[in-house]
Amino acid sequence: MTTTANAPASSSTSGNEPYLVVDDLTVKFPTADGLVHAVSNLSYSVELGKTLGIVGESGSGKSVSSMAVLGLHDTRSARITGSIKVGGQEVVGLSEGKMREMRGNKAAMIFQDALAALHPFFRVGAQLAEAYLVHHPDASKKQARARAVEMLDRVGIPEPHSRVDDYPHQFSGGMRQRVMIAMGLINDPSLLIADEPTTALDVTVQAQILDLLQDLQREFNSAIVMITHDLGVIAEMADDVMVMYSGRAVEYGTVRTIMTKPEMPYTWGLLSSIPDVSSDVNTKMVPIPGTPPSLLTPPPGCAFEPRCTHRDKVAGGLCGTALPELRPASDGHGHLKRCHLTDADSIFQTEVLPDVAPATSEEN
């Protein structure tokens, strides 16, 4: 195992102080129907130069938790507790003014749908320059424009000198996402949160964007939080993975551990419900039955229990009554799981793997 270097939340092994530390984060939204528990007791950390992948479905809290890092939730409607430290600075409870200094400067975010996320009425150059000027008040407009052109060039937009005056709709989907990335990186942030950055793109363009993100990370040594539902993207981009379900982390580990020795049935479900272009043709597709639970009234036990096909393996119906803690998994090394199953590894090898990868399981 080579997992020690990236052990989650236990940065002592690497000697690097994590740049982003989220500790016991809880986000709730009061609504007309009741209190929505969007994120519950979430903890994770990311070092500079590393990528954490957060996987989950809509409503899993993966986007909500990341928006909280930048303080983008409406303070009047979101109840946020816990701690988020960006570069050592506590973010929860920070004043709006101080928060603003950080946003787009130390920490930046790029969004899924670049067509919607860029202002349709302003030229691309103006939007980039604005992002630069707000954190460089002494810079002239000329300097800001030059910086915008430089960034467009850096993210691989041909003829940046003329394209800087185009509007977002005049770019193709891939080029627009490059603009979005250029805007996120214009102030050299140490932390980049990428929320489904390639979901709306074609595969060939997605590959280009992922290449770009990796190049840029190498160049700027930034910490990246990559939010996606695509395990393939995670497998190729992330160092560590956090799987979220119904507002909680349910599994955490290095990308290799999570993809090869997952110990949480929801992660199994994700792996076996996605077909793959290169796997054995006879791989079965096993869906996760049912739908995610309501965030209004979280169940007392494990949130995945109603959909879990392995709940009967836990004695006394514990899954329905007691919320499992996020505990070290059987192989240790910072692999954490939130599940009552005691022999998860052997269940995975004997029951799940034959469906996911028939060829691999025969070899074992």
């Binding site: 975010m109 919607a116 996320a117 349709p120 009425f121």
Partner: protein, 334 residues
């Protein structure tokens, strides 16, 4: 762009012709005979059927409606002679006819009345734009707060009062009973601009204030929608200040539909502010048209007001489309 404008102008011309013809035909073929009042009033003697027929003939009322409309339109281009009863009037181009009531050239009367109507429309819309949009933005920025809810319910109350009642009450209390706005009415702008202003201040305020809740609510709705858009989140994620996000990024996008509605409303206002003009005693297009409907009907005046109204509305539509293209770079007029 040029092609678009030309195509639109051509289709606008068609709309104007159709609208004016429709009105012309409706009243021309209607139950009221324009020759009757002429016949009744002429010369003191009783109106005999033979006389009526002679007058009808002299006025050209015996001709088919298409021919009569053709004569009317020809007058606009080249001028014509108009005969009413015994009198014949020389009507220069652009001739919209001779008013049956006043026996003046409609074109001349129109020129005198169009100015106050434009002034009221401009003044009133400035008031409601400033009040409505400002209040709407403030409410949207604090949506869900007490102030926001007060605005929403308050504007509902104001808009549920009939507009003529507001006019009437304002006139009664602010002009007649108190001396806050003593001299309300239209005083020609060429003589004393200051007096023009003070005379029209109350009508403009009443018109503006009564319409502002609609704009406040509309602006609020547009702003709330815009503020939920992804690019607003992006603007915040860049670290921009709240005011910049609200006014630069939010309002810029919300302005487009507001301008669209405003343009259409403004065109309608220019076609005549009937209640305002009537109650404050201002000789504008709206009141002129209203008077022309009441018996005895004044066909040339009616047609002229409809024509003017159609032109204003069509032009303001065209301007809205052009402005839309200027505001939203995604709209390419081609």
């Amino acid at each position: 762009m040029f092609g678009f404008v030309v195509r639109r102008l051509l289709s606008s011309l068609l709309v104007i012709l159709l609208a004016s013809f429709a009105v012309f035909a409706l009243f021309y073929l209607g139950p009221n005979n324009p020759a009757q009042p002429v016949c009744d009033s002429a010369g003191g003697s009783r109106c005999t059927p033979e006389r009526l027929e002679a007058i009808e003939k002299s006025m050209g009322l015996d001709k088919p409606v298409v021919v009569a409309y053709g004569t009317f339109m020809k007058g606009i281009v080249a001028g014509r002679e108009v005969t009413i009863g015994a009198a014949t009037y020389d009507c220069d181009a652009p001739c919209l006819g001779i008013a049956y009531g006043s026996r003046g050239e409609v074109t001349e009367e129109l020129k005198g009345r169009i100015v106050p109507t434009i002034l009221i429309a401009v003044g009133g819309s400035i008031v409601y734009l400033v009040i409505g949009v400002t209040v709407g933005i403030m409410a949207a920025a604090r949506r869900g707060s007490l102030g926001d809810r007060l605005l929403v319910s308050g504007s509902l109350i104001v808009s549920s009062i009939p507009y003529y009642l507001i006019c009437l009450l304002a006139w009664l209390y602010l002009t007649l009973k108190t001396d806050i706005f003593p001299e309300t009415g239209y005083f020609p702008i060429t003589e004393d601009p200051l007096k023009t202003f003070s005379g029209l201040l109350l009508p403009c305020l009443v018109l503006g204030i009564a319409s502002s809740p609609v704009y406040a609510r509309y602006t609020r709705g547009q702003m709330v929608e815009t503020l939920g858009d992804d690019y607003i989140r992006t603007a915040r994620a860049k670290g921009l200040g709240g005011r910049t996000v609200l006014l630069k990024h939010g309002l810029r996008a919300a302005m487009v539909p507001i301008v669209t509605i405003f343009g259409l409303d403004f065109g309608i206002l220019l076609a005549g502010t009937v209640f305002t003009e009537k109650i404050f005693g201002i000789d504008g297009i709206g009141r002129w048209g209203l008077d022309a409907i009441s018996a005895p009907q004044d066909l040339p005046v009616l047609t002229a007001t409809v024509l003017v109204g159609a032109i204003f509305i069509v032009i303001s539509n065209l301007i809205v489309d052009l402005v839309y293209g200027a505001l939203d770079p995604r709209v390419r007029l081609g």
